[in-house]
Amino acid sequence: MCLGTYGRVVKIQEYKCWIDFGGVIEEAISVVEDLSIGDYVIVHAGVVISKLSKEEFLDSFKYLYEIKRKLVEEGEQSKEELKKLESIFKLLID
């Protein structure tokens, strides 16, 4: 359920806002409070349902990294593997 597309708020007017989906701008209604221009949001069926959190964007990987670290500690996977993962993360962040 619930296809959501990422876009950026470019204009706000009363209850309506305009979202740039990367070259395509569409009108939407927001059910997120305190929306500002420049925010990244998730739009579902023309509705802003959530703001994307920049700070937590890479948090998804914290767990992954933790699992990996443990596997390496336990000798299940090699240190090189961990380094490989680290270098991927580095690439992502830079």
Binding site: M1, C2, L3, T5, G7, F21, G22, G23, V24, I25, E26, V43, H44, A45
Partner: protein, 327 residues
């Protein structure tokens, strides 16, 4: 649609009626038909064009009809030389609208050296059709046919440019979603691309099509079934502009299913694939890519895409009306 064709036409005709001896007809339906004449072939195609709206970003129904006619002749290996047109308009269509449409059709034929040697014109009462229908016949000469059934395992698949541009533009026009986007139809004749390629690679190009209705998904599935092969595509290699990708994502549409009107798909011998790609680039089709290859068929004929994370999915031919989804 395919079911209707199969049931009401293909099944009812005896084999000899489907082609002229030594040529190509609806025995293996292709972009066009061919009749052998001496050492060469006469290539003929016919198509009816309807589109809503009749004027869209990047073109109109006149440009669409002329380009489509030329491209269909080209995709069978023919050099287009002449066309005929049959136009039916709804009573009350403004004259300047009509003139504008004709002008853009004539312009395309003129620039590409195609004579307009005959036609028909009728007016129908208001409400009996939607503004205008243009039916064309395209005629060309081929030294060698490019019949899609000749696609072979090992061949590489080349796409000449960004896909789905026409389909998504028309869709956006119809839904009034076009505001502030740089979407535009890619409709154009492909003479400048195809003629030099034929000359240089007449034995190495095994299949050619323009992925119009049903998009790349329909074209590749048709190729696989008619040539009894399987096709594997690297999804990330298929050229799609970001704006088109994003727009499709908003509406839950698949670019693979959307029409192009100015793109050629080629099935070529793998040894020369890179060379052909270079030539395509140097002719000016800079977005062209080798997107995949043809393999031996294992079970049912299939088109498979290797996805961005390395998994595999099946590309099915699209079914029914294209509607946006929210789930």
């Amino acid at each position: 649609m395919n079911r209707l064709l199969e049931e009401f036409i293909f099944k009812r005709l005896p084999n000899w009626m489907k082609l002229v001896n030594g040529g190509l007809g609806i025995d293996y339906p292709d972009d066009a038909a061919a009749i052998p004449i001496g050492e060469k072939y006469l290539v003929i195609t016919t198509d009816s064009y309807t589109v809503t709206p009749i004027f869209f970003r990047g073109g109109d129904i006149g440009k669409l009809a002329a380009s489509g006619t030329i491209n269909d002749v080209l995709m069978l290996g023919g050099t287009p030389i002449a066309a005929l047109d049959s136009i039916v308009v709804e009573e009350g269509l403004e004259e300047d609208v009509f003139e504008k449409i004709l002008n853009s059709m004539f312009d395309i034929f003129k620039v590409n050296g195609v004579s307009l040697i005959g036609g028909d014109f009728k007016v129908m009462p208001r409400g009996q059709l939607d503004k205008i229908i243009i039916t064309t016949v395209g005629i060309g000469i081929a030294e060698q046919l490019i019949a899609d059934k000749n696609l072979k395992p090992g061949d590489k698949i080349i796409v000449s440019g960004n896909i789905a541009e026409h389909g998504i533009t028309i869709y956006a026009e119809q839904k009034g979603f076009l505001e502030k986007s740089d979407l535009r139809s890619d409709v154009r004749p492909l003479i400048d691309l195809m003629i030099p390629l034929f000359k240089k690679y007449k034995n190495e190009i095994h299949a050619a099509s323009d992925p119009t209705r049903g998009g790349l998904a329909a074209t590749l599935n048709y190729w696989a079934s008619i040539s009894n092969t399987a096709i594997v595509v690297e999804e990330e290699k298929v050229p799609v502009r970001d704006v088109v990708k994003n727009y499709c994502e908003v509406l839950g549409l698949d670019p693979f299913n959307l029409a192009s009107e100015g793109v050629a798909v080629l099935g070529v011998k793998s040894e020369v694939a890179e060379k052909i790609l270079e030539d395509v680039h140097s002719i000016g089709y800079e977005d062209a890519e080798i997107i995949g290859e043809v393999r031996e068929k294992e079970s049912a004929s299939l088109v498979i895409a290797r996805t961005s994370v390395g998994g595999y999915r099946i590309i099915e031919p699209p079914v029914g009306e294209i509607v946006p989804r929210i789930c």
